[in-house]
Amino acid sequence: MRLGKLAIAIVTDIHFLIPLIVLVLGLALLFLLH
């Protein structure tokens, strides 16, 4: 699979988006608590 197509397949994958959103929320919480 070509790199561009692969990148699109990754960033539009729900299996990627959910963990990424959760990671961003976790980092935001960490900054708030620190």
Binding site: M1, F16, P19, V22, L27
Partner: protein, 426 residues
């Protein structure tokens, strides 16, 4: 379904269950060496050193199982999964740091049960994202859900047994509860990348390799962000060196436990895998109570908590262990595999074979000269740190220590043999 196929499913199920339990044994032991560390460094620094140990340990024993050629060839074949492995490592690091805040603000008694609900979060993601338990018999669904709840309940009871009178005031209660719930959400979601890798046919050892890089990079950035940047005491203090060996040893036990956890996720999925490896609480308590005498002054009610907690946890394990995925659930899993293969252009037959443990790939199995150099280097780091290690004056029961180390070795050898025999660590 043919009898032979049923027997194969059952055998992979029992392999996954045994891997989850072995993960519990090793992850529980990972806490033990850190009890010997009392150098007054920040939690970020302690976490950073332990993860550095995890990273180094990855290049010792696991490199013997699959050489670097195999791992890099597997990663090249599944390039897209590198993103998921880094993501999982980063999630672990942030969750681990949040637990520090949770303990500080609400104490272990409240924080521990909250972040242990990660098994329920994982159960939900498994159901929604990977078709887990879909098509399963109602009896098996009940066994998995009740088993997960029982293991969570057992962990809560064990958590209460380790409480000391050091509860913080409720001043920061809301922040502490938010931190614990955040850790639960992160640790439950961390298994999404794990499962993603395995329904795409990746080898657990390849995944762990990149996972440790993501983990190390994130804890390093957290030290820079929260612990004084490059001026952080951990980078300059002479006090750090004597404690490093114990943290690295904890990291070694953790990485072995995590590899078993990965195999559990691969062969029984996240809904069953997370609760089984959460039995690490039982083993962590065994190390604390038997080797370090932490329950010596415990009163009757604490001992009752330990007994009940252990029993409830064992019942939960029994329930999940007997919930073997049937044909309907396997068909749902195969649909999830097919979806991955279509999305990322993978070979469905190949991925299916790796999930059934039936593909014994001989691909670049031989170790190269470099592998032995890497192993020697990593073992050398442990040996050098060992010569500089300080042994604190702490009561240690050597009889129990020998017994628990014996259980660790027997678990690793027994499970290693089974994994090799059935899957060639595939």
């Amino acid at each position: 379904m043919p009898k032979q196929k049923v027997a194969e499913f059952s055998s992979m199920h029992s392999l996954g269950v045994a891997s989850g339990l072995a993960a519990g044994v090793w992850l529980g032991a990972a806490e033990a060496p850190t009890k010997l560390v009392n150098a007054g460094f920040s939690p970020y620094a302690i976490s950073f050193c332990m993860v550095a140990g995890v990273f180094t340990a990855r290049w010792t024993f696991p490199t013997l199982l699959k050489g670097t050629k195999y791992v890099f060839s597997d990663l090249a074949e599944n390039k897209h999964l590198i993103v998921w492995a880094v993501l999982a490592g980063a999630i672990w690091a942030v969750a681990n740091t949040l637990t520090v805040f949770a303990i500080r603000d609400v104490g272990l008694a409240v924080a521990f049960p909250l972040w242990n609900t990660n098994s329920l979060v994982g159960l939900l993601w498994g159901l929604l994202l990977f078709n887990e338990l879909q098509g399963a018999a109602a009896r098996d669904i009940a066994k998995v859900v009740l088993g997960a709840i029982a293991i969570l309940g057992g962990a809560i009871l064990l958590g209460f047994s380790t409480i000391h009178a050091d509860q913080s005031s409720l001043h920061h209660a809301r922040a502490g509860v938010a931190a614990a719930l955040g850790a639960s959400l992160l640790w439950g979601t961390m298994y999404v990348p794990y499962r993603k890798a395995y329904i795409s046919g990746m080898n657990p050892l390849s995944f762990v390799t990149v996972f440790t890089v993501g983990e190390l990079a994130t804890v390093f950035l957290l030290v820079l962000a929260f612990d004084g940047g490059f001026r952080a005491p951990i980078f300059h203090s002479a006090q750090a060196r004597p404690m490093l060996f114990w943290l690295f040893l904890g990291g070694f036990a953790w990485v072995i436990g995590d590899i078993f956890q990965q195999f559990a996720t691969k062969y029984v999925g996240i809904g069953r895998g997370i609760p089984l490896s959460n039995t690490n609480q039982l083993w962590g308590l065994a190390w604390g109570a038997l080797v370090f005498g932490e329950l010596a002054a415990a009163d009757r009610s604490h001992k009752i908590f330990v007994g009940c907690g252990s029993l409830v946890m064992i019942l939960g394990v029994l329930a999940i262990s007997t919930a073997v995925a049937t044909g309907g659930e396997r068909a749902s899993r195969n649909r999830a595999i097919k979806r991955e293969c279509e999305r990322f252009g993978l070979s469905y037959d190949h991925v299916l074979a790796t999930n059934e443990g039936t593909e014994f790939t001989e691909r670049e199995r031989a170790r190269s000269f470099w592998d032995y150099c890497i192993i020697a280097g990593a073992v050398g780091v442990f040996a050098w740190l060992g010569t500089n290690a300080a042994v604190p004056a702490l009561h240690v029961d050597y009889r129990w220590l020998t017994m628990l180390v014996g259980i660790l070795l027997a678990t690793a050898l027994g499970m290693g043999w089974r994994l090799w025999k059935l899957t060639r660590f595939g």
